[in-house]
């Protein structure tokens, strides 16, 4: 019945699409519940009753409904991203937490999978009806026990490197010849994994690649630790099984050579790869395009060669491709550009030529292509006059396009483009890049967590620097925290923007946010906030004092956490001033005590403000206390303060004497003042 209802629904949809058509009963009528609705429709449309065009039955993709629904959901700017929605306690509030959240989630999944797959016999009960294959344990153990080519094939399919090699050896010893096809697929396996057992396929959804490290160094905080990828660090060993089996092969075809070359390049053995390539040429076998791509990379990997030599070698290879009638693909050009990146300034002209060649040949560049070009031209900022134009050209070219993944490096483009925008301080360009990111499904190319953070931090910092403050704050609300968690430096940029636009009243809110995003103990951020709040007089309705009290408490908590507590003098000054201005005299006086405790020197302006406050409450005792403090630190302002007390306050005789003593002591010697201070 549900099926019938859905058919009915589809019909109704169709009718809306084709309002002019006469609606007649569908010959494949099989939904009785629909027939009730039909006569009425007929009555409405039958007037013409010429030819009836029966709309074709639509078959919908199984996820079409869900996709339609998903497209109606917009990002909630006030909430954490959907991926983080969980037990409220677990929802991450900082980038570190979000990372560990994702890792924890993934590792849980992996652990479960691992258990199920390593003990399949305990997970045989099939509770799902209809059967759901992906919930059942996968069999990773070879089923065929005897020694045969079929067994070898099975082991290759299961990617058991060592078992396959053993099986191959046993077959050879038994005198069986293994077919060329099977041997080639064995070679594929050995070459792809560099004769090492592949690590279990439970890699984290967002992998880190070695290249990321190069880029991460730009932002110091993002110095993520080197996480060895599954194949990272596997190098080609001479005389390994792949080479041995390759040598044993009675007949070799092009595929055998090609896969060997690719494996060697993949595992960084360019010299061997080039030798083998020569051998391939000598045997008059054709290489495929992937092999050429690999050999191009090998040429560029060669050490002890000049850039020019390498470039000529690459050109030579391309000519060979033409001669052998091998069609280049996107990877060919991307590989060239990727290699040219390492040529620094020398690579620029060849890179442009390569790009034009690509265009001329009709191969549409992918995002990775542009990424390589940008990297090549903007390696060192402002190093070339020619550089600033490239990005505009590229943006003009890619504006409004929708991309699909074509190269593993496609997800690095947005990050590098935004980096250039930031270094050029070009806001308009940044908006363009951001517009491109939000075109179609391009946002998916923003890459893993770190890249997204990098991109948005750069973007937001640029906004802070260049954009009007209202717009910046709008972006702030829009992006944080639903897209990324700000770095403390980002927040400092925002504070500076607020300062320039004199919108300091927002600061308490920013402080609240930064506490939430895990920057409670960032001293530079706290000092910046305090400095901005204390610098000028503000109307009392701005809740700066509360904010200051809050920051003070974080310093106190920090004392408890750390062995060597550190109260910067600036912060002490600022907090005290803020308390005074808010009329919270008691707390302000306590702050003065802290100066003594941590042996920090209060500023003159602060002491003057204290004197003002003492005068406002007309309390000579307090005034004298200030003078005492000043003399305790043997500050030069002490004299002035004393005179002020004498002039402004009604001082009793004793107090007057005490004051006289203090001034005398200060002028006497420092050591005396310390004693008189009498802790």
């Amino acid at each position: 019945m549900a099926a019938a209802a859905s058919v009915c629904w589809l019909r109704v949809r169709c009718r809306f699409c084709l309002p002019m058509m006469g609606w007649r009963a569908d010959p494949c009528e099989r939904a009785p519940s629909c027939s009730a609705a039909l006569p009425k429709v007929e009555g409405a449309d039958v007037t013409g009753s010429e030819e009836v065009v029966i709309p074709k039955r639509k078959t919908w993709d199984k996820v079409a409904v869900l996709q339609a629904l998903a497209s109606t959901v917009n990002r909630d700017t006030t909430a954490a991203p959907y991926a983080f929605q969980d037990d409220p306690y677990l929802i991450p509030t900082s980038s570190v937490e979000s990372r560990s959240f994702l890792l924890a989630k993934k590792s849980g999944e992996n652990a479960a999978k691992f258990i199920i797959n390593s003990h399949p016999k305990y997970f045989q009960k099939d509770i799902a009806e209809p059967h759901i294959p992906c919930l059942m344990p996968e069999y990773f153990e070879a089923q065929i026990e005897d020694i045969s080519e079929a067994a070898l094939k099975e082991r290759i399919k299961l990617r058991k490197v060592k078992a396959s090699v053993d099986m191959f050896d046993q077959l050879l010893q038994a005198g069986t010849t293994v077919s060329l096809e099977t041997t080639n697929s064995l070679l594929d396996l050995l070459c792809y994994y560099g004769d090492q057992e592949p690590s279990a396929d439970y890699h984290f959804q967002q992998r880190e690649r070695s290249e990321e490290l190069e880029e991460a160094t730009e932002e110091n905080n993002e110095k993520s630790k080197k996480k060895a990828g599954p194949q990272f660090g596997v190098t080609w060993r001479a005389k390994n099984n792949a080479e041995r089996i390759f040598a044993l092969m009675p007949e070799k075809n092009a595929h055998s050579y090609c896969t060997m070359i690719r494996g060697m390049v993949k595992h960084r053995a360019p010299v061997q790869a080039l030798n083998l390539y020569t051998e391939l040429l000598n045997n008059r076998l054709p290489a495929d395009v992937y092999t050429f791509n690999a050999v191009i990379e090998a040429k560029a990997l060669m050490v002890n060669e000049k850039f020019e030599e390498k470039w000529n070698n690459i050109l030579e290879l391309l000519k060979q491709m033409v001669a052998q009638k091998v069609k280049p693909n996107l990877q060919t050009f991307n590989t060239i550009l990727k290699c040219l990146r390492r040529f620094y300034a020398f690579g620029r002209l060849p890179a442009l030529q390569t790009l034009r060649e690509m265009k001329a040949v009709g191969i549409e560049p992918s995002l990775a292509t542009y990424h390589y070009v940008i990297q090549l031209f903007y390696q060192h900022e402002s190093s070339s006059k020619e550089a600033p134009l490239i990005i505009y050209d590229i943006m003009n070219e890619v504006m409004g396009k929708k991309f699909s993944p074509k190269d593993p490096d496609d997800d690095a483009f947005f990050q590098s483009a935004m980096r250039v925008c930031s270094s050029l301080r070009d806001l308009e360009l940044a908006y363009q890049v951001h517009g491109l990111l939000n075109t179609g499904d391009n946002w998916k190319f923003i890459g893993p967590e770190q890249r997204r953070n990098f991109y948005y931090s750069k973007f937001f910092s640029l906004l802070c620097l260049m954009e009007q403050i209202d717009v910046t704050l709008k972006w702030y609300k829009d992006l944080i925290p639903s897209v990324f968690f700000p770095h403390s430096q980002t927040l400092i940029h925002l504070l500076q923007a607020l300062d320039v636009a004199s919108r300091l009243e927002v600061i308490p809110q920013i402080w609240k946010d930064s506490k939430e995003y895990g920057h409670t103990y960032r001293n530079d951020l706290k000092e910046e906030i305090l400095m901005l709040m204390a610098r000028d007089q503000h109307p009392p309705e701005v809740a700066f004092a509360d904010c200051a009290a809050d920051i003070k408490s974080t310093y106190e908590n920090q004392d408890a956490r750390q062995t060597a507590p550190d109260w910067p003098a600036n912060s002490l000054n600022c907090i005290a001033v803020l308390f005074l201005r808010a009329g919270r005299t008691q707390e302000a006086w306590k702050m003065l005590g802290l100066f003594r405790k941590h042996n920090k020197i209060p500023r003159n302006e602060l002491l003057n403000e204290f004197m003002d406050s003492a005068k406002a409450s007309s309390s000579p005792a307090q005034a004298i206390e200030i003078v005492k403090l000043a003399s305790a630190f043997s500050l030069p302002i002490c004299e002035g303060l004393t005179q002020r007390v004498m002039a402004d306050f009604a001082v009793s005789q004793e107090q007057r004497e005490a004051l006289g003593n203090l001034t005398a002591l200060t002028s006497d010697s420092d050591s005396d003042s310390d004693i008189s201070e009498g802790k």
């Binding site: 959907y82 030529q353 034009r356 009709g362 190319f445």
Partner: protein, 387 residues
């Protein structure tokens, strides 16, 4: 706060760069340009345009300052070109007599004090130092031209020295213009220059539009607009240079696009892994619950939408009516009688049976047909008709 202010300060000199740091040569060129336009109306737009041109010329000069000598020699060596140029120049000199006086008048009293100060500088400076720069430039002009210029100056009733230097400046300007046009055909040289200019203009205008505070520096907003339009135009004209220029010229379009398609082979391990890598490139965490459901659907963990009772029920693609309406298989049976009755009950039962496939149901009916065929004798005996 401080970094921001410093950034602004850093940019401000940039915006003036074309006008004030252009060096004497550029200034002279600018002045000459001003002079050349007759009846100059000092509207803002006009001035802006001069600045734009000025900056471009400046950009050219920057690179040419070294090879100036060589280029002028080159021009001299080409006799035909020289002759033409000389004719042009003499014509212009003829036409200039009147204009020169206007130039003098105009420069004597700068029309509006409210204009940019740097403009004043451009107009004023060459007057103050007419000696230095023109003398140098005189070298690049041919001696005949210089002689002609001085002859014209002699014939005029004004201050001879001034007129002569004005004339020479004008000549210089024309030579420069023609050289600039000549250079325009060589994209490589002008390329980087224009880039540098473009960037300068760009950042300055960006500032103007975003920061009202700094508009004090520029009188009105329209300046920024004109400049922006200009840079966009420049950028568009340059875009060709990036994607359309010298290429490697190794591959042939036809060879790449046409050609025989490669023989289809089973994907090797390399292909499979590359596909996996590509799939991972735009893998992002789910944005909402529906996306998660899409993923589950793809993995087969979820009922497919629209909800369908036959989900997971694979019966060689047969439709439900084939399961239910089985009467058509009874044609070979008698139209009435006990066998018919019996068979109708069988089909009724079969149509309600969800466990058998259509094929099995048909086989079931076939079996009865064969059965009754075999028992034909008995049926006859019992007086039951079967076909």
């Amino acid at each position: 706060m401080f970094p921001r202010v410093s950034a602004v300060l850093r940019l401000r000199p940039f915006s003036r760069l074309p006008s004030c740091s252009g060096g004497l040569e550029a200034l002279a060129a600018a002045a000459a340009l001003l002079g050349a336009s007759r009846g100059t109306r000092r509207t803002k737009n006009n001035i802006q345009r001069y600045f734009g041109t000025n900056s471009v010329i400046y950009g050219k000069k920057d690179e040419q300052s070294i090879p100036t000598q060589e280029i002028s020699k080159e021009t001299e060596s080409q006799d035909g070109v020289k002759e033409n140029m000389k004719k042009d120049l003499l014509q212009i000199i003829k036409g200039m007599k009147v204009e020169l006086s206007t130039v003098n008048v105009q420069t004597a009293k700068p029309p509006s004090r409210r204009q940019l100060k740097s403009l004043e500088a451009t107009v004023g400076r060459p007057q103050r130092a007419p000696g230095g720069a023109p003398k140098e430039r005189r070298e690049s002009l041919s001696p005949e031209l210089v002689a002609a210029a001085s002859a014209v100056a002699d014939s005029l009733p004004f201050d001879k020295q001034t007129t002569k230097s004005e004339l020479l400046r004008q000549l210089q300007q024309h030579e420069e213009d023609s050289r600039a046009q000549k250079d325009g055909e060589r994209p490589k040289i002008s390329f980087s220059n224009i880039i540098s200019d473009m960037k300068v203009a760009r950042s300055a205008t960006a500032r103007v539009s975003t920061r009202p505070v700094h508009q004090i520096q520029f009188d009105e907003g329209s300046d920024g607009y004109v400049g922006q339009e200009k840079t966009i135009g420049l950028r568009k004209s340059l875009r060709k240079n990036i994607f359309k220029g010298k290429r490697l010229n190794i591959f042939d379009l036809k060879a790449v696009t046409e050609g025989a398609p490669e023989a289809e082979t089973a994907p090797s391990l390399w292909d499979v892994e590359f596909a996996k890598q590509l799939a991972a490139v735009n893998e992002q965490p789910f944005q909402n619950g529906f996306e998660q459901m899409i993923q589950w659907t793809k993995e087969g963990k979820l009922w497919e939408f629209p909800i369908n009772n036959e989900a997971g029920f694979d019966d060689d693609g047969s439709e439900f009516y084939e399961h239910i309406f089985l009467d058509k298989y009874l044609e070979d049976f008698p139209k009435q009688g006990p066998i018919r009755h019996f068979m109708e009950l069988v089909t009724c039962g079969l149509s309600k049976n969800p466990y058998l496939s259509v094929k099995q149901k048909i086989e079931h009916i076939e079996w009865f047909k064969n059965y009754f065929n075999e028992k034909r004798d008995i049926l006859k005996d019992s007086n039951i008709q079967f076909n």
